[in-house]
């Protein structure tokens, strides 16, 4: 494997893990549930995306030829992450979780 390919793999790996870490930090330190929802749904999904791209480049550099099947994981996560976030938000609104005082507007009561 050539050096520039290795550098590319390293960049995407670092990008992926930094995004995963940021998502987890958001989950840990933001004050209320609806704000915490933002971290995992975006950052973590892209974190896995970065990892997957790195893995694709890495295995393309090996002898066995191009492998695209890692794309399935990213595709699946990008379809499912909004759905689970939506379900969780609905559940949280029904449970009437406390929201931080800075929040403008109110959740519905259906």
């Amino acid at each position: 494997m050539s050096t520039w390919m290795e550098i590319l793999v390293a960049i995407f790996l670092l990008l992926g893990s930094v995004f995963s870490l940021v998502g987890a930090i958001g989950l840990y330190r933001l004050p209320d549930f609806f704000m915490r929802l933002h971290g995992p749904t975006k950052a973590t999904t892209l974190g896995v995306g970065g990892m997957v791209i790195a893995s694709m480049i890495y295995f393309a550099g090996q002898e066995q030829g191009i492998s695209l099947h890692e794309l399935l994981i990213t595709l699946f996560l990008f379809i499912t992450a909004p759905v689970s976030a939506h379900m969780l938000a609905k559940a949280a609104m029904q449970q009437k979780l406390s929201i931080s005082e800075q929040t403008r507007g109110k959740p519905w009561e259906q």
Partner: protein, 167 residues
């Protein structure tokens, strides 16, 4: 109930075949054939469960829209990362109600998913009459501006693609 057709969802069949090829990670003729058979058989067996897909009027517009959203997702992540790592007391979270013009189920699902994946917004609930979407935002200064941006950036292209009107 609809009458049974020989090839109920051509697009779904193509997608299934593509997923099969990706899953097998092997571009030989045998797997192509097997994928084609599966792509034909699965929609045929399960066609009772599927909703009628909306007609796509402008496929190329959809294609361009896809890349716009992909770019937005990356930008959104950088913004959210900045917000998360900054001071939390300065954030201005809000629940915003957005009136919807879209009526089709698939288009609404797509819009809600896109809203969840892009800058600082998560779609939280859809009203029972499917006219209003409740969105939670992480940091927003002006509600009206956010509504206008979502409508022009994401809803308008979807409207164009699925209903062929430009309003």
């Amino acid at each position: 109930m609809k009458a049974r057709r020989f090839l109920p969802h051509p697009l779904l069949s193509l997608c299934l075949m593509g997923v099969w090829m990706l899953l097998m990670n092997d571009m030989t003729f045998g797997h192509l054939l097997l994928g084609a058979i599966l792509g034909w058989l699965i929609p045929l067996v399960t066609q009772v469960f599927w909703i009628t897909p909306p007609r796509i009027y402008r496929p190329f517009r959809l294609f361009r829209f896809f890349f716009l959203v992909l770019g937005d997702i990356v930008v959104a992540n950088l913004q959210v990362a900045k917000l998360i790592l900054g001071p939390t007391s300065k954030l201005r979270p809000a629940f915003v109600e957005i009136p919807m013009l879209l009526e089709d189920e698939l288009a609404l699902t797509m819009l809600a998913s896109i809203i969840s994946l892009t800058p600082g917004t998560v779609s939280a609930d859809l009203s029972d009459d499917r006219k209003t979407l409740l969105v939670h935002t992480l940091d927003v200064a002006d509600d009206e501006q956010l509504i206008a941006e979502i409508k022009s950036r994401y809803e308008a292209p979807l409207l164009e693609v699925f209903t062929c009107s430009t309003t």
